[in-house]
């Protein structure tokens, strides 16, 4: 347990999910992944973003999943949805057309500019560890208006140099990335937030991630120990407000009752 809210103890994973949900305030269309993003997005829909439309890459717009999806193609995302579309339509008409405001990504490795690897650890031709690959991630990174990353911090994943660039972030810095995005007709503005189990990172004017908020119970020493570079810390660093009793109740009773992702 990492802290206590309204006399209720909560876990690091619960804090991470609640923090990610709050970042979704005011967003209209969100491209959801399974696992942590799914819980965060469905929590946001029940709290800060009731009008948000949920898009799943399997081909659903306006989903209302009644249970935590077991996989990205769970029929629970279909029953009661606004529309079922082919995957071509989903990627071409919804994502590449620029209709998605936020896309969620996870990462095996991420660098200070938010470039992401989900393909291999080691050399591509002879990998030490073969990871899942892109799926829809490179498309989301390029064409979702904003990219949210949700992942736990560790010095193995927050690295100086990623082994393979599966999904582009701010490349070598904001200036270069903005020019390339404009020239290439990308719909996306790149990564806007990284929510971890320790805090909330936004990207500053140079395109590098900066710690803006520290979760209750986490320390700056812990943040520095779980990151391979010397991280930027906001001069106005603030504590992340602890989860409210209502947020915790929604996560525990409705969104992840078995505690699969939140223990």
């Amino acid at each position: 347990m990492t802290g206590v809210a309204d006399d209720v103890a909560f876990s690091k994973s619960e804090m991470m999910i609640v923090a990610a949900a709050r970042e979704l305030a005011g967003q209209r269309v969100c491209f959801v992944g399974v696992g942590l993003p799914n819980i965060a997005v469905n929590l946001a829909k029940r709290t800060v973003a009731p009008d948000m439309e949920l898009v799943y890459e399997a081909g659903v717009f306006g989903a209302r999943p009644a249970r935590l999806p077991l996989s990205i193609g769970d029929p629970t995302i279909v029953t009661g949805a606004t529309a079922v579309v082919s995957m071509f339509e989903l990627f071409a008409f919804y994502l590449q057309r620029g209709l998605v405001d936020v896309g969620f990504l996870g990462a095996a490795q991420i660098d200070r500019f938010g470039n992401i690897n989900t393909t291999v650890i080691g050399d591509y031709a002879a990998p030490r560890t073969r990871l899942p690959g892109s799926g829809g991630a490179c498309e989301i990174a390029i064409n979702a208006r904003n990219v949210f990353v949700i992942m736990r911090q560790s010095s193995r994943s927050f690295v100086e140099r990623i082994d393979f660039r599966t999904s582009p972030g701010n490349l070598g810095g904001a200036e270069q990335a903005d020019a390339i995005r404009r020239a290439g007709g990308w719909q996306g503005r790149g990564p806007s937030v990284v929510v971890t189990d320790l805090g909330i990172w936004h990207f500053d004017e140079t395109g590098e991630m900066r710690l803006d908020s520290l979760h209750p119970g986490a320390t700056l020493d812990e943040v520095r120990e779980t990151i391979a570079w010397d991280p930027k810390i906001s001069p106005s660093l603030s504590p992340t407000p602890a989860p409210t009793a209502d947020e915790l109740r929604l996560v525990r009773e409705e969104l992840d009752p078995e505690g699969i992702y939140t223990k």
Binding site: L131, G136, R165, I180, G185
Partner: protein
């Protein structure tokens, strides 16, 4: 047998040949496990297996030695973890002196675009993906091209035309007119792109049922070579409205597939040791299958009108 209706044994024997490129599509929903198992049972060899998400079925097929190459966009056991039998054929530390699996990888949109180009008889499909990623270097078939109408550059992927595409669906008639509801994935594109098409269905219905709801038809019998009727043929994956994913199996596959001997034992017990899906269903048992049945949520009906 009337029309194109045949057995899985005959469909696979007649239509899947050693060395073929085979696509069993279905995006975590409607996965053709029964077709995959018959391909294993008939000991097909040197296949190129194409599928956006190889899933547990390709892990089993590759463990059984049917494939020399894999074309894909996301390699994992969805919601569980990795595909361990496939990883053993890719990571040098496990491959050792054995033959590594050749891989050709794309993103999801790239794979969908490949099937779409194949289905539409086009030489490539352009897409705004892959910019500033290492994917084009890893796969030289992903190429940057200049627009003929502006200074813009986009990426192109080549058509993918499987020798055989297998689609699992809720229902078809004897001519192979096939209807699906729920997630559609890229089955339509993969079927139109293929030289030969096998449709496996939960239920065979009268032509009148198809004609009463033409909007639901994704594949016309025109391009279908064989219709196989095999209830629970997509187990352990989902079929919208018919059965839920057998999630226990997906979880159990992880420890089984981490161990080569356990993997081969599983294949003996559940594939080689059975003569087809009916025996598999019997071995699972009625009580277990009944536990996978979802509640009911019928659609309203629409009125197409008559215009005589």
């Amino acid at each position: 047998m009337p029309g194109k209706v045949t057995t899985m044994r005959d469909a696979v024997a007649d239509l899947v040949r050693d060395g073929d490129t085979v696509a069993i599509e279905g995006f975590t929903h409607l996965i053709g496990f029964s077709a995959g198992h018959e391909i294993i049972r008939q000991r097909k060899r040197d296949l190129t297996l194409a599928r956006m998400t190889p899933d547990v079925i390709y892990d089993q097929m590759i463990a059984a030695g049917v494939a020399r190459k894999l074309i894909f966009s996301w390699l994992g056991n969805p919601g569980v973890g990795g595909l361990n039998a496939i990883r053993r054929r890719i990571e040098p530390a496990s491959v050792g002196d054995g033959t590594a699996l050749e891989v050709e990888e794309y993103s999801h949109f790239g794979m969908v675009a490949r099937y779409t180009a194949g289905a539409a008889n086009l030489p490539f499909m352009p897409l705004r993906s892959y910019f500033e990623t290492d994917l084009p270097a890893a796969n030289p078939l992903i190429r940057e091209i200049r627009s003929p109408y502006s200074e813009e550059t986009v990426y192109a992927v080549p058509p993918l035309n499987p020798d055989v595409t297998v689609v699992h669906a809720q229902r078809a008639d004897v001519a192979g007119n096939t209807q699906v509801w729920g997630l559609l994935g890229c089955q339509k594109e993969a079927a139109f792109a293929a030289e030969r098409v096998i449709v496996v269905v939960e239920e065979l219905v009268d032509e009148a049922v198809i004609r009463a709801d033409p909007n639901r038809t994704i594949i016309p019998g025109l391009i279908v070579d064989a219709v196989v009727v095999e209830p629970f043929g997509a187990h352990p994956s989902y079929v919208q409205g018919a059965y839920d994913r057998d999630n226990r199996f997906y979880l159990d596959w992880d420890p089984i597939s981490r161990d080569e001997a356990a993997t081969q034992a599983w294949l003996r017990d559940w594939v080689y040791g059975l003569d087809g899906r009916a025996a598999y269903v019997e071995k699972l048992g009625d009580a277990h299958l009944a536990s996978l049945r979802p509640g009911s949520a019928p659609s309203g009906s629409v009125d197409y009108g008559t215009y005589a």
